[in-house]
């Protein structure tokens, strides 16, 4: 069947040549365009590579260009590390036979429609066995409608909003807990360690994840009896926060909570220093979890608090291919010469979870692997992993941490606590 479209294209191209001779523009043009149309069809149908026998293919649609590119590249590092480790150990064993891991990457240019298209392309053209979800809640959600249609098990490495998982999908899993699991422990720690904190100011990027987490923060603050004196959004691509920060300064809050991506937070932190805006507690999500933030912000990062889904200081003794958290951090450091953050770790654990589920299923059958994923209840270097009925992980306790001496120090959970909350951000 696959040869049919090519044959049509060739025939039409042939007829085009004939028509050219006869000189009729009309038929000539329709023939040229017909060829083009058929060429798309034929080439998209014949683009699938020959499938090797002993390889498991994982599709990873990533935003490698566009605004989310820095995050996309981090995820790729995580996937690569896992694939390297899995292959070094001989591959994934399925019913006694070893299969090598191959990851198929594609760039969806930070655009949601492209993410959806890429997902379908990977399933239908690249013959991938399993999928990693697109980056972020919006793209992951949009792309999951495609993977669900094709019944391809998908683990989303970076989607936290519960709306993503509340669609009733069977084949979608995610390694981030809902957003409120970040803000609630944070608020409780501040509440107990800094009783003077009464007023909170919240400034949020008007974008899916940053806005969602800011709204959770507002709820947590109100639930804990704090007064939210300022809650505003700023537009994506804002170049200047000075007006908002001056206003916050005039309200004199003890706690300033700013959400955004690393560029927004670097700029906001710099302008806070410029405006001599000080507070007992300054929280930023999601920048401080990244080493780049700490390096770029320099001294101004000191005492900034944050929360994320994972931290290299955690100490779990996992049953996955990486084993302990320490071992994962070491392997990562050997390969990339830097410490992993939660984005890279989440990508790696997604691979490790697939590996476990496939080995337990003893088969590459998508439904069997899906069932094993749903049944998982294991400890990994990422933490205890158990997916809830909607597919979102519900076993994880996301850490709260603070930058102290240019190092992130874990404040919560108690089991891995490394230091006490320090007050005062200048």
């Amino acid at each position: 069947m696959r040869d049919l479209p090519c044959w049509i294209a060739v025939t039409i191209a042939g007829s085009e040549m004939g028509v050219w001779m006869s000189g009729s523009k009309l038929i000539h043009w329709s023939a040229v365009l017909g060829t083009a149309v058929m060429a798309i069809a034929s080439w998209s149908a014949s683009g699938s590579p020959v499938r090797a026998e002993d390889v498991i293919r994982f599709g990873a649609p990533l935003p490698l260009t566009g605004p989310l590119a820095p995050e996309g590249i981090k995820q790729q590092q995580g996937y690569d590390l896992w694939a390297e480790q899995a292959n070094k150990a001989g591959g994934i064993s399925v019913g006694g036979k070893k299969y090598k891991v191959e990851i198929v990457y594609a760039d969806y240019q930070s655009s949601t429609p492209r993410a959806v298209q890429t997902t379908e392309q990977m399933i239908t053209q690249d013959n991938i066995n399993f999928l990693f979800g697109a980056f972020g809640s919006g793209a992951a959600k949009a792309a999951s409608t495609v993977s669900e249609k094709y019944k391809v098990p998908t683990i989303a490495a970076a989607a936290s909003s519960s709306q993503v998982y509340d669609q009733g999908y069977k084949y979608l899993f995610g390694t981030f807990t809902p957003n409120d699991t970040l803000t609630t422990p944070l608020t409780q720690i501040i509440k107990s360690k800094a009783p003077d904190v009464k007023k909170v100011a919240i400034l949020a990027r008007n974008d899916l994840f940053p806005l969602a987490i800011a709204q959770e923060m507002e709820k947590s603050a109100k639930a804990n009896g704090l007064e939210v004196v300022y809650f505003e959004k700023y537009a994506i691509g804002t170049l200047d926060h000075s007006a908002a920060l001056s206003q916050i300064k005039s309200l004199d809050p003890q706690w300033i909570f700013i959400t955004g991506y690393i560029n927004d937070l670097l700029l906001a932190r710099k302008q806070m220093v410029d405006q001599e805006l000080k507070a007992q507690v300054v929280t930023m999500i999601a920048g401080p979890a990244y080493q780049d933030f700490i390096e770029s912000a320099g001294e101004s990062a000191e005492n900034v608090t944050s929360a994320s889904w994972w931290h290299p200081a955690e100490r779990y003794d996992g049953k996955d291919i990486f084993g302990s958290t320490e071992n994962f951090v070491k392997l990562f450091h050997d390969k990339y010469k830097s410490d992993p953050d939660y984005g890279q770790a989440s990508a790696a654990v997604c691979g490790a979870l697939f590996q476990m589920a496939i080995e337990r299923a003893g088969s590459l059958d998508r439904d069997k692997v899906r069932d094993e994923l749903a049944k998982l209840d294991v400890v990994t270097f990422w933490g205890p992993v158990k997916f809830g009925p909607n597919g979102q992980i519900n076993s994880l306790e996301p850490p709260v941490f603070q930058i102290q001496g240019s190092k992130p120090v874990v404040l919560f959970p108690l089991a891995i606590k490394q230091g006490e909350l320090k007050l005062g951000v200048n």
Binding site: P70, A243, L267
Partner: protein
């Protein structure tokens, strides 16, 4: 006190906006080309400053004299080799051509520098000065002064040099300039080169203030557009007036109705200006 602080912030920011827009305005005014590579050239300038500070600890101020000739040559060649070929084509063709060139330059920067955000952090930091509880950051202040000095230099160049007079002549009446014996092609290339040099310098100064990544180029371009229309096309004073107006509207707007609306407000203002005062605040005269 809050009002004074917000207005001071806006004035400083306005000068930076003017600095971002001025090269764009010159090219648009003289060549009648909307130069979509402008934003990427600014980012390239920022990378130059960042690289110099990171590898040799050279402060951005000392990078400026290097940036001027480097970016001038870059712009000159770009115009001579590529843009000149389609200069008489419809507006859309030149626009699309610069769009294509921007894709190339931007992708090249992402490829070589990665998309990660960098930040040029001076050690020790320069801090802020405060007067009657109004705080002004020193690095912004210096960048503002340098930006003003650059615009001043451009003004003098256009006003008093032979080449400058020729550029203004071409801007005012191309055909008459040709009749007077001005070599329009080379004036175009020189004007484009100056535009690129100004963009590069703006980038060097912005490196002190904004996080650096190829991904920010469109934000710079957006600001340049708005500033040009508000202030009036193709004049130094126009760019300055437009920058100040934009920054004031953004600052006051975001304090009064929330930062999320600041952008909406500036776009709405842009449309109002286009409709009722398309020549901008300061009218359309020669580029001086």
């Amino acid at each position: 006190m809050l009002a004074a602080q917000i207005i001071i912030n806006a004035l400083v920011l306005g000068c930076l906006y003017a600095c971002i827009a001025i090269g764009f305005s010159l090219v648009w005014g003289v060549l009648n080309v909307i130069n979509l590579i402008h934003g990427s050239i600014i980012v390239l300038g920022a990378y130059l400053a960042w690289g110099a500070y990171q590898s040799m600890a050279i402060s951005p101020w000392y990078v400026l004299p290097v940036a001027v000739p480097v970016f001038f040559v870059f712009g000159y060649l770009l115009q001579r080799l590529l843009l000149n070929r389609v200069l008489h084509a419809p507006v859309l063709v030149t626009l699309t051509l610069t769009f294509g060139l921007d894709l190339i330059l931007n992708n090249a920067m992402i490829y070589f520098f990665k998309a990660d955000y960098r930040k040029l952090t001076l050690k020790p930091p320069m801090g802020s000065v405060s007067l009657f509880h109004v705080v002004v950051p020193v690095d912004r202040l210096i960048a503002t002064v340098l930006a003003l000095a650059l615009t001043g230099l451009l003004y003098l160049l256009l006003r008093h040099s032979r080449i400058g007079r020729a550029i203004v002549a071409v801007r005012l009446d191309r055909d008459a300039a040709i009749l007077m014996g001005v070599d329009v092609r080379s004036i175009y290339a020189i004007a484009f080169g100056i535009g690129a040099a100004l963009a590069g310098c703006a980038g060097v100064l912005m490196a002190l203030i904004f996080p650096i990544s190829a991904l920010t180029s469109s934000s710079y371009l957006d600001k340049a557009f708005v500033v040009c229309v508000l202030g009036g096309l193709g004049s130094v004073s126009g760019a300055l007036a437009g920058g100040l107006l934009l920054a004031l509207v953004e600052g006051i707007g975001s304090a009064a109705i929330g930062p999320a609306y600041a952008t909406t407000l500036s776009f709405a203002l842009l449309i109002v200006f286009l409709l009722f005062r398309p020549q901008g605040l300061l009218g359309r005269k020669g580029f001086e």
